[in-house]
């Protein structure tokens, strides 16, 4: 658990440092995810079969599962911030509601249909 958490934090820290050093507009955690993913693939290339289908680093798989199982909880504190924006909400509720509802459904339909079509064509 602690080993896995350390790997996650190390990747995030490296991501944050890279983003700042190279002035990348990409957030640190997203770079960290790319780094961890690349690291796992590289490890497989150097020592194939080390981890099988599970990331071989001790505890990483279990920690990732534990954190992701309650992914929803992590959005709660920022979500409660809605209480600060009740005036904006009261004034612009119509565009906000329409943009959120229709915009999200349009995004889902476009992505899903396009992905299904492209995967049939490109395999």
């Amino acid at each position: 658990m602690i080993g896995g958490m350390t790997i996650l934090l190390l990747c995030q820290l490296l991501g944050e440092l890279l983003a700042r050093a190279l002035h990348l507009p990409v957030p640190g955690p997203v770079l960290g995810m790319a780094l961890l993913f690349a690291g796992l693939l590289l490890r497989d290339r150097w020592s194939p079969g080390a981890g099988g289908t599970d990331p071989g680093a001790p505890g990483l798989g279990g920690t990732a599962d534990a954190v992701l199982r309650h992914l929803g909880l992590l959005f709660v504190p920022a979500g409660v911030g809605i209480v600060v924006f009740l005036p904006q909400l009261a004034r612009d509720w119509a565009p906000l509601a329409l943009a959120i509802l229709a915009g999200t459904l349009i995004g889902i339909a476009v992505t899903g249909l396009l992905a299904q079509l492209l995967m049939r064509r490109l395999g």
Partner: protein, 239 residues
């Protein structure tokens, strides 16, 4: 004689109470969602937020005071984003063959989600800072808040619309995909992750492992693409 004011001052100032309340609200949200047999409309994130927001308003607690404690939970969003590499890695043999198609679909879908939201806001004449807050709506929360700051939105309002989009996607997304006859689990996952980020991914993971992996990948790639493109496009069209 117990001095209630003193206890109240302690509770309002110490992070312990806010942290405990956040976890309790989340567990209550999960319990309520389970009572509704995990019906998509009973989203545990939404339920927990409504409970806590109501509590803060009723008790007159300042949001910043609450966040002092809740920030410990908020902090875990970073490591959780990194952790999405693990399901992606486990499904890599599955993902690799359709990587190009996935990338194209995510880029187009992510931009369609951003454009449609902004277009509705412009049509209905929302305040400029509200429109800017809506642009990164479908991007995962920490990234969206950063983008909003760059283009003149309000990061806090962005957090709220990101939450709203995620809950909308997680609750109505599966029905929309059925309606559009998208049956491929890979495509369904990509759609959920692109338009409804982590909340859609949480739902996708609970329904199907393949959909979960594609959803996590879509969320990460959409964050990457949006962080690179949205500020540029915003400056070009609306700046």
């Amino acid at each position: 004689m117990v001095d209630l004011t003193e206890i109240w001052v302690y509770l309002a100032r110490d992070p312990l109470a806010a942290l405990t309340a956040t976890l309790l609200a989340w567990l209550a949200g999960l319990r309520l969602a389970a009572l509704c047999r995990w019906h998509p409309v009973a989203n545990p994130v939404l339920l927990a937020v409504i409970l806590l927001a109501g509590l803060l308003l009723a008790a007159g607690v300042d949001y910043r005071a609450y966040f002092q404690g809740a920030q410990f939970v908020h902090f875990l969003l970073g490591p959780a984003t990194v952790a999405l590499a693990v399901p992606l890695y486990r499904q890599w043999h599955h993902v690799r063959s359709s990587a190009l198609a996935a990338l194209l679909a995510i880029a187009c879908g992510g931009l369609a989600a951003a454009f449609s939201g902004v277009a509705f806001a412009l049509l209905l004449r929302a305040a400029p800072e509200v429109t800017a807050s809506l642009a990164p709506r479908s991007v995962t929360m920490p990234v969206a808040m950063g983008i909003a700051e760059q283009i003149g939105g309000l990061p806090g309002l962005t957090a709220a619309v990101v939450l709203g989009s995620g809950v909308t996607g997680a609750t109505l997304g599966p029905a929309m995909l059925n309606l559009a006859r998208v049956r491929d689990w890979r495509a369904r996952g990509l759609a959920m992750g692109t338009a409804a980020h982590g909340i859609g991914t949480a739902r996708a993971i609970s329904v199907n492992a393949t959909a979960g992996a594609f959803s996590g990948m879509a969320m990460g790639l959409n964050a990457l693409i949006s962080a690179l493109l949205l500020p540029l496009l915003w400056r070009f069209f609306l700046g």
